[in-house]
Amino acid sequence: MTENFEPTIIGFTCNWCSYRAADLAGTARMKYAPNVRLIRLMCSGRLDPTFVLRALASGADGVMITGCHPGECHYIEQNYKALRRYLLLKRVLKGMGIEPERVKLVWASAAEGAKFASETTAFVEEIRKLGPLNWGKPSDQLPIISEPVQHEEVPA
């Protein structure tokens, strides 16, 4: 199964920098791996570590956290708080038996569409090497699906 493994990654972006970097990557038609699905937050400081655990529990193989470069936070210094939580979270993940490398922090300013694209592609490859997370089966607490949807095999 790992031969055809296509990782699924959830990316958290900051409204002011990395989300705009993703927009810029789009406007400039830069190509990157399609495995990342983005969520917009107002700031990386909004990132509750629970979100990361929820994503991993719900089927993501990796989580990318992105924010403004240190010193460039729209809210002055909240990205430092994201950094603190990220470092702590990695230790928690290790304790839970999950490779800490499944979570990555990337700084990307609104001007860094190219960096956003390349970091995304690089992260997908890192997760591909780690293989699927297989962190339990989706259980009852997760949303009830009205009917099973056939997952199309995504070509590499």
Binding site: K31, P34, L41, G45, S146
Partner: protein
């Protein structure tokens, strides 16, 4: 999702011509959403060529009214482009605008991926995420705050003066704060302005006088902003008025104190170190305001305790040795930062010898040298004060376009170098060499000026100068400064002996730009210039509502561009003032007092001091007026007592699940 909710969701997939439809199977996507997301409450899913067109918007409005939709998802471009469009459409149809979500399947899908099947699959996930999230959205109301009609402008250079005059002439009050004793900025130091060669002071000083006497302008020179709080519409600012030791009420500006003061000091600021001033001084003849400033560091009375010559001779008794710094509190609605630039320190390029070789001058020194009101009365002479140079080398791009210093082009140096060439030629008849990397003369009448200087016989050498030295290799180099350069057009090394070298030092951000940016809550680019909201469409606004930038604080530019930006920034401010109130995004955090344990973890996290601890109730509380909505406290609260509108835990959790909807299959399926 949660069973209790019976939302009726409409999904609208945009083709965006072929921008999306070229890479995503939009028809299939809409059909899939209509069928497979039914359990989430999707009752209708449509696709249309251009959803943002009025027909597309009408389609949504019609469905809201006829099908009773309670939530709308538009799968189209980035919310930064059309979120407002679709929110307005929903509002027009009677639906709360915050019950609309955009799924970005253009910037995040069709433009960045190539395989249609893969892209369609990702688009499905993005749409499922948005549908899951929108169910958790709650109706919100924009927050309206009143705008204080007064404006603060920081920096009294030409950009700040222009801004102040525009707003004051429109009938609103302006506080113009300037760090130096007089307004005027760098432009007051210049001799001529390119390409018209009109005298800088002649065109600037009438504006300075107008700003100084305007009934709607409160001039605060020799002053600095020390504290800023609040938000658009109502900023609270504290300005420190440094002690002048001169009573402005009594002073008439007669300058007798300056004349009688026995202490001479080198003037490093206005005369760029080439001339002298007194310990009590008016920085230049046309200074506005005309009041002198006492330099406490150099005043004989402050050093030795005796002298007071100024006090003795002052006819109005305006000298006050006991004056203290004053702190003035201002309430303003908008702020314009026009704090200008610092000149690149040419000493850093040690191979050009500035500071070591006496006859190497900076561009600012040359401006003073050629200025009729300057230390040499406009005579272009060497450092000895009497010898007229017979040959002059002007070196461009000093500290600019150089990986060792600043990567960017300082914009003004080419034209400034040409202006110097013309002035030297005209006043001394000396042979002039310009050493340039590329000649950039891209504005109205600029290239014509270049042609004129070429015709005047100035010699141009294309190449970056390697070294300026006084070590002669031959008889004719003796006593000269030798410029070693690779002439890249001729493909050979040259050694050109000259009497005088002028370095076109680049512009760089103010040394304290980062700290000032932080004080006002705006950011700087990697080069250190203040960052504009949009490089093309919003060049004078910043990411912080109510704070605008103008002139060189935003990036290197010439006088016409600085004036244009000054005027543009004031137009933006006037727009705000005339609206009387401003609508803010209702993205705020709030504390559920019943859940709050009073642990105070959140208290220290807020950089805006919006969270206060209520001692009586032993709970924390958030001031919505100060909250900027970053959500850091929401994420930190261990009790889950803080919630944030627009980005609630429920919304984000639902979006995570929605995005992973396609993966939610039995593992061994």
């Amino acid at each position: 999702m949660s069973e209790k909710k019976q939302e009726r969701v409409g999904v609208y997939v945009c083709h965006c011509g072929t921008n999306i439809a070229g890479t995503v199977d939009v028809v299939g996507l809409a059909r899939w959403a209509g069928e497979k997301l039914k359990h989430l409450g999707v009752v209708v899913a449509r696709e249309y060529k251009f959803m943002c067109s009025s027909l597309g918007q009408e389609l949504i409005e019609k469905d809201i009214k006829e099908l009773g939709l309670t939530r709308v998802v538009v799968a189209a471009c980035s919310p930064h482009l059309h979120e407002k469009t679709f929110r307005t459409a929903a509002k027009n149809a009677g639906l709360n605008p915050y019950l609309v979500e955009l799924a970005s399947i253009r910037e995040q899908v069709s433009w960045v991926h190539t395989d249609k099947a893969v892209a369609t699959e990702k688009a499905k996930a993005v749409v499922a995420g948005a549908v899951s999230r929108v169910i958790e959205n709650v109706p919100l109301e924009e927050i309206k705050v009143p705008i204080n009609p007064d404006t603060l402008i920081v920096g009294g250079g030409i950009a700040g003066i222009q801004s102040a005059l525009e707003i004051a002439n429109a009938g609103f009050h302006v506080y113009l704060v300037e760090r130096e004793p007089s307004i005027g900025g760098h432009m007051a130091q210049f001799d001529k302005t390119f390409p018209t060669l009109d005298c800088s002071a002649c065109i600037l000083t009438p504006r300075m006088v107008e700003a100084g006497t305007h009934p709607n302008i409160t001039l605060m020179t020799w002053s600095e902003v020390v504290n800023v709080s609040g938000y658009v519409g109502s900023f609270h600012v504290t300005v420190k008025k440094k002690a002048r030791f001169v009573n402005e009420e009594l002073c008439t500006g007669c300058a007798i104190c300056q004349e009688k003061c026995p202490k001479k000091v080198i003037d490093d600021v206005f005369e760029a170190g080439l001339g002298y001033r007194k310990a009590i001084y008016i920085p230049f003849a046309q200074a506005v305001p005309k009041f002198p400033v006492m330099d406490k560091e150099n005043c004989t009375y402050f050093i030795k305790g005796t002298c007071k010559a100024c006090e003795k001779f002052c006819p109005t008794g305006a000298i006050d040795f006991n004056q203290q710094d004053q702190y003035v509190d201002l309430d303003v609605g908008n702020i314009i930062l026009a704090t200008g630039y610092d000149l690149f320190d040419a000493r850093r390029v040690s191979n050009y010898g500035y500071g070591r070789l006496p006859n190497v001058f900076t561009n600012l020194e040359f401006e003073r040298l050629s200025n009729a009101a300057g230390p040499t009365s406009g005579n272009i002479v060497l450092r000895d004060g009497k010898t007229t140079p017979k040959s002059v080398g002007i070196i461009h791009c000093v500290g600019s376009r150089d990986k060792n210093f600043n990567n960017y082009c300082s914009v003004i140096c080419c034209m400034q170098g040409l202006k110097f060439a013309h002035l030297v030629h005209e006043r001394t008849g000396a042979t002039v060499y310009n050493f340039y990397i590329d000649m950039r003369t891209a504005y109205k009448a600029y290239d014509e000026f270049y042609q004129r200087v070429l015709e005047e016989g100035t010699l141009f050498v294309r190449g970056k100068v390697a070294e300026v030295t006084d070590v002669a290799r031959s008889e004719h180099e003796k006593g000269k400064l030798i410029i070693q350069v690779e002439d890249t057009l001729a493909g050979k090394q040259r050694r050109i002996p000259v009497d005088m070298v002028i370095l076109s030092s680049g512009l760089q951000p103010r040394h304290d730009a980062k700290a000032v940016g932080k004080q006002f809550g705006i950011s700087c680019s990697t080069d250190g210039w203040f960052t504009e909201k949009h490089p093309k469409l919003d060049p004078v606004a910043t990411m912080t509502e109510g704070i605008y930038i103008a002139g060189c604080a935003q990036g290197p530019k010439d006088i016409p561009s600085s004036v244009a930006q000054g005027a543009a920034a004031s137009a933006r401010v006037l727009d705000k003032i005339l609206q009387k109130e401003v609508a803010l995004e209702p993205i705020k955090a709030s504390v559920d007092h019943d859940k709050c344990s009073g642990c105070r973890i959140c208290n220290g996290l807020c950089p805006f001091n919006a969270i206060a601890f209520i001692e009586d109730d032993q709970v924390s509380d958030i001031n919505p007026a100060l909250c900027q909505g970053c959500g850091t406290c929401v994420a930190a609260c261990p009790a889950g007592a803080i919630s944030g509108t627009g980005f609630s835990d429920e919304q984000i959790m639902a979006q995570i699940d929605g995005l992973l909807f396609l993966n939610l299959l039995p593992v061994e399926a």
